[in-house]
């Protein structure tokens, strides 16, 4: 499971080596230009907001990541965020490391999907906007890559419908969260001729430090239950050994109490369990490949657009989507063919 050598090191020597290396804030060219020119991110963020969203909050997340990795004595050399996320999501004790790296990764992915634009304006709507009838779709920024356009048209009906779905999903997020455009990967066939098929595009949400790939997420609770079961088996074995040693009449009451407690925990069946829910939605042969992420969290619009500005922010965000980047992330599309024998 763990690639590129993320390991928990316990010796003092390797810990000292670890301290010398720490992750740096990745460079995002569009933002670096804004910072260097001390100008606004045209059509979307003011200069001060860019500083806060990326250079301060990004650094804050990075510091948290470096710190928690150091606290756990994890080796950072030769790893990247993606590897950490994949490797650590199912390690309950490293929850903090995972959360920082996932937050940073999605933030970077979101900001890299954007470019400044000249069509929209930053403004601060007032309370009256809540009572106004929403305007019809008015936008100028559309994808140009013919494959992407065709794919979107076929899966969502039209660019209009896709935009409505994407932005409405973002409106539905009340706390922190991202809306993603993803390509669904289906793996089929046996190992010698595995087929990777991308037929569908889809829009999906993640919340807080969630990652878009459900394949990584699933099975965590089941695994934790498995650990509990293993502990119970161990205890039972020890109880058996003890009773054989000391004669069958004596029983270690403390041990028996612990066993009873664990059995009780594991056998709670009155309600459906979270493990069962996980099994139903298991994503074993599928994978989601992200093409575009938009951040619907309040921190992105509160500073420039104010409390009533979420809709305005989202409209501007659409104008700022860099479709070239999205097209570059797009995997080869597998069209559905029907063969008649």
């Amino acid at each position: 499971m763990l690639k590129n050598g993320i390991r928990i090191k316990k010796s003092g020597l390797s810990l000292r080596q670890v301290r010398n290396f720490s992750f740096q804030l990745p460079s995002i060219s569009t933002l670096d230009q804004v910072k260097a020119a001390n100008s606004d991110y045209d059509g979307l963020f003011k200069n001060s907001t860019v500083k806060q969203i990326w250079y301060e909050r990004g650094q804050h997340l990075l510091d948290g990541l470096n710190q928690t990795m150091e606290d756990h004595g994890l080796d950072k050399t030769g790893t990247d965020l993606q590897t950490i996320i994949t490797g650590l999501i199912s390690k309950p004790q490293l929850y903090g490391v995972y959360s920082y790296s996932a937050s940073l990764y999605t933030l970077q992915f979101f900001l890299e999907s954007l470019k400044p634009n000249n069509t929209s304006e930053i403004s601060t709507p007032t309370a009256d906007t809540l009572l106004k009838t929403p305007a019809l779709n008015e936008y100028t920024n559309v994808p140009t890559n013919p494959v992407l356009v065709d794919w979107i048209n076929q899966l969502f009906g039209s660019i209009d419908e896709f935009r409505t779905l994407l932005l409405n999903s973002a409106r539905g997020i009340k706390g922190d969260g991202y809306v993603w455009l993803v390509a669904k990967l289906t793996v089929s066939g046996k190992t010698e001729n595995t087929k990777y098929i991308y037929k569908e595009l889809s829009v999906t949400n993640t919340y807080n430090a969630g990652v878009v790939d459900d394949g990584l997420r699933s099975g965590q609770v089941t695994k934790l239950k498995g650990q509990k079961q293993a502990r119970l088996d161990n205890l039972r074995k020890r109880a058996d050994e003890l009773s054989q040693l000391e004669g069958s009449s004596t029983q270690n009451t403390e041990l028996q109490a612990e066993i009873a407690q664990l059995e009780d925990d594991i056998n709670l069946k009155e309600l459906g369990t979270v493990e069962e829910a996980e099994d139903i939605t298991v994503y074993a042969n599928k994978k989601l490949v992200p093409l575009l992420a938009i951040d619907a969290s309040p921190r992105n619009y509160l500073l420039d657009y104010g409390v009533f500005g979420k809709n305005k922010y989202l409209d501007n965000l659409w104008e700022s989507i860099d479709w070239d980047v999205v097209a570059k992330r797009m995997p080869p599309r597998s069209k559905q063919f029907f063969s008649i024998d």
């Binding site: 999501i89 309950p92 009572l131 706390g175 922190d176 430090a209 709670l268 309600l271 369990t273 409390v307």
Partner: protein, 259 residues
Amino acid sequence: MFNTSKSIARRTVQSSRRLIHEVPHLKNGKQFAQQGIEGLYTPQGFQTGWTDYQRYLTTNLTLLTNGTENELKTPYQILLNTAKQTTEQHVYHFASQAHNNHFYFDQLADKSEASKTQPSRLFFEKLASLDHSDLNSFRDEFLLAADSMFGQGWVFLVELPDKSLKILRCHNDGTPYYYGKNQSLDLNGGVDEGSFEYLNNIKKLAKNSARDYTLPLLGVSCWDHSYVKDYGLTGKADYLTNFWDCIDWSVINKRIFEV
């Protein structure tokens, strides 16, 4: 005959009563709007966290409850009424947020005023049930629970049916009043062992038909609306420190008796 028609008329008038949700009146609201809350908010920070955000919440609540059974109810009644209804969660969000935000701002005072108040002896006696002998160690635990939370939410000090206290985290629009909607866990990313134990514990409580009469005494907002204007996106820790100095303990002391 005359009487009957009169009473029918009165009933008709009563049943056609209308109500819109407004931003509630705060004790020092006018002063806060002009000068901010000394030691916590500038006037702009107060405007974002209270005046604007509360107007956003109450206006949306009015729009959503207009002409429904919830029209004449307070946000508190609406949140209780909608918490269990899966198709009413959009209404629940605004009701719960409006109530929580009011609960939070209701307990704030200027630093100089707040420093004149202190927790009552009853409060300290109750703190003992949390294994805290002094206020400072409780403060640290309470603020840490708020600072270490990922995403938006609330942290409450609540009183349980057996009169003991507990620190309760509520993610996003979670409410302390009903544990089906506490939203204490964040299972979106990695799941840690504490969360797993918490899930197990909830199942046990449900199996034993545990009663859920939880009431909040103290609450703090971890929503961006409450701090980004004055403290910036990375200023949560500073905000929380200042928040602690601006608690009007006389409000909290009174809440214990209301419970």
